[in-house]
């Protein structure tokens, strides 16, 4: 034991000397480029209100961040709201909730009707979360509406705000390509989302979200559209390195990800062909297309 004490002393002395010897070459702090220069700034976390309404806002934030944990009856996969709406729904160009809240009611082709904001969130549960939408007035829905309303404090209603939604990329120079997309995926995405898009867990809890397969968003989700995914990827991926991929890479990798099998569209009519014709009749959707010899949508449950 005496020996160990001596060693510890020697250790500390050596460490002190070495600390002096290390050159203090601080790299200049690289200020990241602001991704949306004039984007709306939602209220600070510290400004969250007190009282009953504040409790509901906080509950909405918790559901937003840990959706499966706080809304287990409504979630059918490993995703959370914050998987696609980064920074707890605050981040510009990541479909921030302050941008969404002030954009409804609106006519949606997808619904064939004027939809409210609550109905829009229900859609997220049906498609992106591959689950069961909470009914109108359900505490889960009320909490998410409250949180979004609070994030939009001071935002102009009914105006298209900079940074709302995902950016719309210009059409790619070359038609998006599956093989090129695979290369982009392997080099930039597989480290976190896994070689087969399955995502990764930490201590058994979902961590990096699955991008395809049974535990990801289904064929009805907005992110299954190549253009939507390309815009999200370009602005936000790899995480913390948004705007680093070229537009072409973003289109190619979006096509690659959206050409993989995933849970069936809940509106499935019984036939992939008919379902494509009714709901996916656009170049933006790979549903019902044959890729790598596989009819997409035919392996979905």
């Amino acid at each position: 034991m005496k020996c160990r004490h001596r060693a510890a002393r020697a250790l500390r002395a050596a460490a002190a000397v070495a600390a002096l010897a290390v050159p203090q070459l601080h790299a200049a702090e690289t200020a990241p480029a602001p991704s949306a220069a004039k984007a709306f700034v939602p209220p600070a976390e510290q400004a969250m209100p007190e009282g009953e309404f504040g409790k509901m806002v906080k509950r909405g934030e918790q559901i937003f961040l840990h959706t499966r944990q706080y809304a287990p009856a409504n979630v059918g996969n490993s995703l959370s709201c914050a998987s696609c709406h980064l920074d707890a729904g605050r981040r510009a160009n990541s479909a921030p909730m302050w941008g969404a809240y002030v954009s409804y009611p609106a006519f949606r082709t997808k619904d064939g009707a004027v939809s409210t904001f609550a109905a829009r969130i229900q859609g997220c549960f049906s498609y992106s979360m591959n689950g069961k939408p909470p009914p109108l007035g359900d505490p889960v829905l009320v909490a998410l509406e409250s949180y979004s309303y609070w994030l939009a404090k001071g935002a102009p209603v009914g105006t298209k705000m900079p940074g709302a939604g995902y950016p719309k990329l210009p059409p790619p120079a070359l038609a998006p390509d599956f093989a090129r997309g695979r290369h982009v995926y392997d080099a930039n995405c597989a480290l976190c989302h896994g070689p087969t898009g399955q995502g990764q867990t930490s201590a058994g809890q979902p961590a990096f979200p699955p991008l395809w397969g049974p535990d990801s968003f289904n064929w009805g989700a907005g992110m299954h559209q190549v253009g939507t995914a390309a815009g999200f990827i370009k602005a936000n991926m790899p995480l913390s390195q948004g705007e680093s991929l070229s537009d072409q890479d973003a289109w190619d990798v979006a096509l690659f990800i959206d050409s993989q099998e995933r849970p069936q569209d809940p509106r499935f009519t019984g036939s992939v062909e008919a379902t494509r014709k009714q709901f996916h009749d656009t170049p933006d959707s790979m549903y019902g297309r044959v890729v790598d010899g596989h009819l997409l949508g035919s392996g979905s449950k």
Binding site: A10, A14, V17, A27, K58, D87, N188, Q200, Q241
Partner: protein, 231 residues
């Protein structure tokens, strides 16, 4: 900050002593990773356990990091970059250089598989006033800083092969690594993710987040959870 000022850096005197103490027993036959961990490879390689603990648990007081439970790929990469000098440490550079690539790989596997138990625990959200915990759970996206938890797990227990656990590591070690990325004395790592993020962290951020993770239990036990904030 309890331990962050205690440097985990170089201990050439100690290593010299250890190497001498290890004697001149020549290694002729192939040696298992466990044997290297327990006994070293005299004369160049002291037993890993001397600094990193009998089960790779590290040494909080001396600032030596835990190895058990870090991903195999991560550990392989660290040994390789010590050996090449890209990751700088007067202690680890000569040790790693004295190991064959096969021995490096075997040790990485050995320590990766010595992982601590990882019980699942519910996430607990901090308050914005808890600087380290908040940065860990939420990041600071206005400066393009993601939450540490997004790549290291909700309780800092690590994710997969490439994202090592942070929970329960010595604060001085964690702060030292973030500073090393800022200085360029540690390779930027996969896709330069950490080098870029570290460059966006202030010294206060680094101290706060290192202290926070040092205080989390290495096995994810909920008892030492950060103060909850579910109002």
């Amino acid at each position: 900050m309890r331990l962050a000022n205690r440097s985990s850096r170089p201990l050439p005197a100690l290593v010299a002593a250890l190497v001498a103490a290890a004697g001149a027993r020549a290694a002729t036959a192939p040696v298992s990773a466990e044997a290297i961990a327990d006994n070293g490879l005299p004369p160049a390689v002291p037993a890993c356990q001397t600094c990193h603990g009998a089960k790779g648990e590290g040494n909080i007081l001396a600032g030596f990091p835990r190895l058990a439970g870090s991903g195999r790929d991560y550990l392989v990469e660290q040994l390789a970059s010590y050996a090449s000098g890209q990751r700088q440490s007067p202690v680890m550079q000569p040790i790693a250089a004295a190991l064959s690539t096969g021995q490096q790989a075997a040790l990485a596997r050995y320590y990766a598989e010595l992982g601590p138990p990882r019980p699942a625990a519910a996430a607990t959200d901090p308050l914005p006033t808890q600087a380290g915990a908040w940065l860990a759970a939420r990041g600071r996206w206005t400066a393009d800083i993601p939450a540490c938890a997004q790549c290291h797990g909700a309780r800092g227990l690590g994710i997969g092969d490439a994202f090592p656990p942070l929970a329960g590591q010595p604060a001085g070690y964690l702060a030292g690594q973030l500073q090393s990325w800022k200085r360029g004395t540690r390779p930027p790592g996969p896709q330069s993710l950490m080098a870029a993020i570290a460059a966006r962290l202030s010294d206060d951020d680094i101290a706060a987040v290192a202290d926070y993770y040092a205080g989390l239990p290495a096995d994810g036990a909920p008892s030492a959870a950060p103060a909850g904030a579910t109002r």
